[in-house]
């Protein structure tokens, strides 16, 4: 039986990992845009405003349309019912401003 050095095996494993990661890079580079394009088309045609991520409640389903006090709709100090509250930051009020009136 041919003698295999343990360093060969170790380097082999690391190289295997490197190849896997290189493969992910390749796949990412070759990935088609088709799905994104079809979604974009649908958004345009139906005039949609949000991703359908959180369908639990009204104000989680359309976060961009929710008014500023929707989070307090049930009670001013009510905690988030839904996990979506912790996954989505409230809008940054500093940048919500439109052009100043006048």
């Amino acid at each position: 039986m041919r003698y295999v050095r343990s360093s060969g095996i170790a380097f082999g494993i690391v190289c295997g990992g490197l190849l896997l990661c290189a493969a992910t890079w390749l796949v990412a580079g070759l990935a088609g845009d088709g799905a994104t394009a079809s979604r974009a088309r649908l958004v345009h045609d139906l005039q949609l405003t949000d991703l359908a991520l959180f369908t639990e409640a009204r104000y989680t389903r359309h976060p961009s349309q929710a008014d500023l006090h929707s989070a307090f709709q049930n009670h001013p100090t009510a905690l988030d019912h839904f996990p979506s509250g912790s996954l989505r930051a409230p809008p940054d009020f500093r940048t919500l401003r439109h052009e100043p009136v006048d």
């Binding site: 360093s7 095996i9 170790a10 369908t55 996990p83 052009e99």
Partner: protein, 377 residues
Amino acid sequence: MNRWIERQRCLVDFTVSSLLRRRGKNLGLILVYTAIVFVLASVMLFGQALRREAAAVLSHAPEIVVQRMVAGRHDTIPTAYLDSIRAIRGVVQAEARLWGYYFDPGLSANYTLMVPTDRVVEPGTATIGHAIARLRDARAGTPLFLLSERGKMHKFTVAATLEPDSELVAADLMLVAERDFRSMFAIPADAVTDITVSVRNPREVGTIATKISRALPDVRVITRGDILRTYEAAFNWREGMVLVLMVGAVLAFLILAWDKASGLSAEERREIGILKAVGWETSDVIRQKLWEGALISLTAFLFGYALAYLHVFGFDAALFEPALKGWAVLYPRFGLRPSVDAFQVGTLMVLTVLPYILATVVPVWRAATIDPDMAMR
């Protein structure tokens, strides 16, 4: 050069033998380390892909959306407002939108009912989103029964299903005819849910938004920029659940590294003494430790990252589903496009690989410089 390579190979031979001594412990170490990288990389890849998708897809959202507020709540908007908006200079088009939520008590699911402006839906039929089709096992011809607020039962026959790819934006959509919508929700003919506006010059959006809110004092104006900003911060690592996950992973990692960094045992010191006594230089000892740290951390990082990639893009981030789904019944298939941000990968690598290597090498530094004659004693 060859000598140098052979020398490193010999050091790695010894490193592997050394690690194999505590086979179970070191295997467990690599597994835990890989798991930590897996979690961190999954969150990073998922969040980044989702944000990218949102930016790409929602850049086709309406330029301006006009909502009416009554007592701080979103209420229907009179169709008469359309004329006021169309009168503003710079406005190319103002369209009414009819949409609303329907709660299906049988399945505890929320649907978004909508009247499309780009296609004709026959009254009594509906085009449903793919997730609804999955949930109710519905296809063309299946009847769906919805109960209106007035207590009247409406029957919709499924005309078509939206493509599976569209789930991320249209999972819970139900496209119905205007007549059916108004009947379901008792909305009179002169009111609509909101109004979308397109402008001639994109740079004028802000100005026109201001004009609209001035012309119609009881409305709230949302621009496309606002919509995009909402999703820019989604799954931000600084927030809520993601932050907890990251902190947990970082802590686990620190505990891992602490075990290494907290100094050498007497046995380890003795071994360094022996190695030096038989002819290893200080630099050889340190280099060997470097290889040990590098082998473990690189293996864990590479495999953890590759697994995370597979998890997020191959399995649709299935492990996150329980957390993301929450109380929802309808949950979209993301189908995110694989993307890799070199900067983020690099940051993750520096944050996980480097500290571990340092934690392995630094304690050895002092011990490696002791005089080898200690081995004689």
